[in-house]
């Protein structure tokens, strides 16, 4: 029998891989034009990000941040909202975290201090997402444009605030260093093979967050309302879902997740708030959500891939000055294009192929 729809394994697995490969082939072509060998670059990248255990630990460290931003974008997408503002929400979340640290890092024990910081990060991140969510729900202002504006506003605001936070006598645009009570437990203390790397319990927390996300979206009544709103807001409305409420709550959760992404970046590595610390992690979250098709396993795998691209890309840029870190912003855009906007590009060809092989088998 002739199939008219692709089976699940094809849409969920084969198409994303083909799309990813297309993005990487174009990226390889650009690297070739820059006068470098794409294969050699790939070798350096894999070597530095996966084969080397220390590199692998760094890959996982970056992935822990990206899982949170990827979740932030994904949960909004489930409700049909395209949250471009994870970058700004993470930045402002870092402010909440830092304020909690500056206030309590001398008085509280790590067992209380770190949760306090997380609450601060989540609250501030959620607060930064509230207004775009509210305006979308009540005024119809498109969340895409408002969240982009909030990214710009966050950048200027944080620029102003961080300059105010510089301790006396310092030049570096950053807050003071937090006390040692704010240091997250490192995974290297349990697995010495990982070497001197910042991989910390945030990686485990990120996996817990993925599980909670999966349960909340597919196994709870709230998740059902969320997906109903995303699939058909009118139908959901007639079924009794309060659309504007769902939109606002979803944006709050999304902002909180983006805010939590700052915990790994700040408490896991620098231990102070610095200028532009998210470094694009919020935008990477968009690529991850699209590539991982908002599925927990997909988000995990895409986050690890992006962690590897960042870690490997760093070493690559040292060895090959023609391939700076910004190359990976370009690759990120390509991945969003192929996995997001042109996700069904290969579907007709794949369908033909399946029908062809099916005929032979029969």
């Amino acid at each position: 029998m002739k199939k008219t729809e692709l089976p699940r394994w094809a849409t969920g697995f084969v198409l994303p891989i083909l799309n990813l490969l297309s993005a990487l082939v174009i990226a390889g072509f650009v690297i070739h034009l820059l006068g470098e060998s794409p294969l050699e670059s790939l070798e350096i990248l894999v070597d530095s990000a996966i084969v080397n255990p220390e590199g692998l630990a760094y890959t996982m460290f970056y992935a822990s941040t990206f899982i949170f931003t990827g979740l932030a974008v994904s949960i909004a997408m489930q409700a049909g909202l395209f949250n471009i503002g994870a970058e700004g929400q993470m930045y402002v979340g870092g402010l909440g975290l830092t304020l909690a640290m500056l206030a309590f890092d001398a008085s509280l024990s790590p067992w209380l201090l770190i949760p306090a910081g997380m609450i601060g990060a989540a609250l501030f991140g959620a607060a930064w997402a509230f207004l775009p969510g509210y305006l979308q729900a009540k005024r119809g202002s498109h969340v895409v444009v408002t969240t982009i504006m909030f990214n710009f506003i966050a950048a200027s605001l944080m620029n102003y605030l961080i300059l105010k936070m510089i301790p006396v006598g310092e030049q570096n645009p950053a807050s003071r260093v937090f006390s040692s009570a704010a240091e997250l437990p490192l995974l290297t203390s349990w697995f010495p093979v990982l070497g001197d790397t910042p991989l910390n319990i945030c990686f485990l927390l990120a996996i817990v967050a993925l599980v909670i996300y999966g349960l909340a979206v597919w196994r709870s009544s709230w998740g059902y309302k969320l997906r109903a709103t995303g699939l058909n807001a009118h139908a959901a409305h007639y079924a009794g879902v309060k659309i504007s409420r769902t939109i606002i709550v979803t944006m709050l959760v999304s902002g909180a997740l983006a805010g939590l992404a700052s915990v790994n970046s700040i408490l896991g590595s620098t231990h102070y708030l610095s200028l532009n610390f998210p470094a694009g992690a919020g935008f990477i979250g968009i690529a991850i959500a699209l590539m991982g098709r908002q599925n927990p396993v997909g988000i995990f795998l895409s986050s690890v891939l992006f962690g590897a691209l960042i870690q490997g890309g760093f070493d690559l840029s040292l060895e090959k000055p023609n391939i700076p870190q910004e190359t990976f912003i370009f690759i990120q855009g390509l991945i969003i294009l192929f996995c997001g906007a042109m996700e069904h590009f290969y579907a007709p060809a794949l369908l033909k192929l399946i029908n062809l092989t099916g005929k032979k088998a029969a």
């Binding site: 504006m149 190359t327 370009f330 855009g333 390509l334 294009l337 590009f345």
Partner: protein, 321 residues
């Protein structure tokens, strides 16, 4: 308050506005045909880089503009392909273009010029301002001399083009056959289709026009206003242009008013820097930088309910059987 000159605000408003005007007119064509154009930002950035790089290496601003058009049209065609053939998500496609161009322009600028993602100063390749005949003779007449020599005259060709485009776009949209079809495709593509209009063709044409118009925005930014390309120099201009569209209710004349308004905020912003104001005192530069973005949110929040977007915007057209 002595540093606060109305005259220089007017002049710099006129010089700021074309970046937004070209982009907003581009967005107007795309969105009135039913294609969301979030990718204005990326097209501005790409054409700014290419026109600066080509103008510098050929020492001819016109080659720069031509190259900018080519790149911007190519990106618009990618958007058209996604929106029309792939029936994909147009917002995602636009964001992808913006992010990809933000990275690629830096990589290429670094590769060719090794100046930290900046092109060298264009110098002689920067587009010269037009000095109208008789400027010197009228220089001494109060007000009229200033108006003729510094507001109407002494501008780049692209500034004249930007203002000239407004009536042209208005006429095209409301009084030409193409404009009627364009609006039909944006409001009710099925009716347009039933009347024998090819929705695909109209939208491709609209995106072509959008690509050309948007390239002028980038070229103006790089080879007229700044005289170089700088990493991420568009700084949200594409999104401001989209907001001007919302402000103008997707109508050319009102949209231009929105662009002039944003241009004026930019001009005031420069004037405010380092000036002691009464009551509030000196406003820090980083807070002044926020003004256009805050204004955008306020405009969107206040006007979106009254503003009516083209009905079929963002929806892929699937021919009914």
């Amino acid at each position: 308050m002595e540093d606060f000159h109305i005259a220089s605000i007017i002049v710099s408003t006129i010089r700021n506005a074309p970046v937004l005007m070209f982009a907003a007119m581009a967005g107007l064509f795309a969105e009135r045909s039913g294609v969301v154009d979030i990718g204005l930002e990326g097209k501005i950035l790409a054409s700014a880089f290419v026109s600066a790089a080509v103008a510098y290496s050929t020492q001819n601003p016109w080659y720069g503009i031509a190259a900018g058009i080519a790149v911007s049209v190519a990106l618009a065609m990618v958007q058209a392909f996604v929106a029309i053939n792939q029936k994909g998500n147009q917002l995602v496609c636009g964001i992808a273009i913006n992010i990809a161009m933000s990275g690629l322009t830096f990589v290429l600028a670094q590769f060719f010029f090794q100046q930290g993602g900046r092109t060298p100063d264009l110098g002689g390749a920067r587009m010269a301002d037009v000095v109208l005949p008789g400027t010197a003779a009228m220089e001494n007449i109060p007000f009229i001399g200033w108006l003729y020599g510094h507001v109407i005259g002494n501008q780049s060709v692209l500034v004249y083009l930007a203002f000239l485009l407004v009536p042209i776009v208005h006429w095209t949209l409301y009084h030409s056959r193409f404009g009627l079809r364009l609006r039909a495709c944006g409001e009710n593509p099925h009716a347009a289709d039933a009347a024998g209009v090819s929705v695909e063709r109209t939208r491709y044409l609209a995106m072509l026009v959008a690509g050309v118009l948007c390239s002028f925005s980038g070229a103006y930014l790089a080879i007229v206003q700044s005289g170089f390309f700088l990493r991420d120099m568009s700084a949200g201009a594409g999104y401001l242009a989209l907001t001007a569209l919302v402000f103008g209710n997707w109508r050319p004349l009102y949209t231009v008013l929105g662009c002039l308004m944003f241009g004026m905020f930019g001009a005031i912003q420069i004037q405010l820097e380092g000036v002691d104001l009464p009551v509030v005192g000196r406003i820090p530069g980083s807070l002044i930088q926020m003004i256009p973005y805050v204004v955008t949110v306020v405009v969107l929040a206040g006007l979106m309910a009254k503003s009516v977007a083209p009905k079929a915007i963002g929806k892929p057209f699937v021919k009914s059987r």
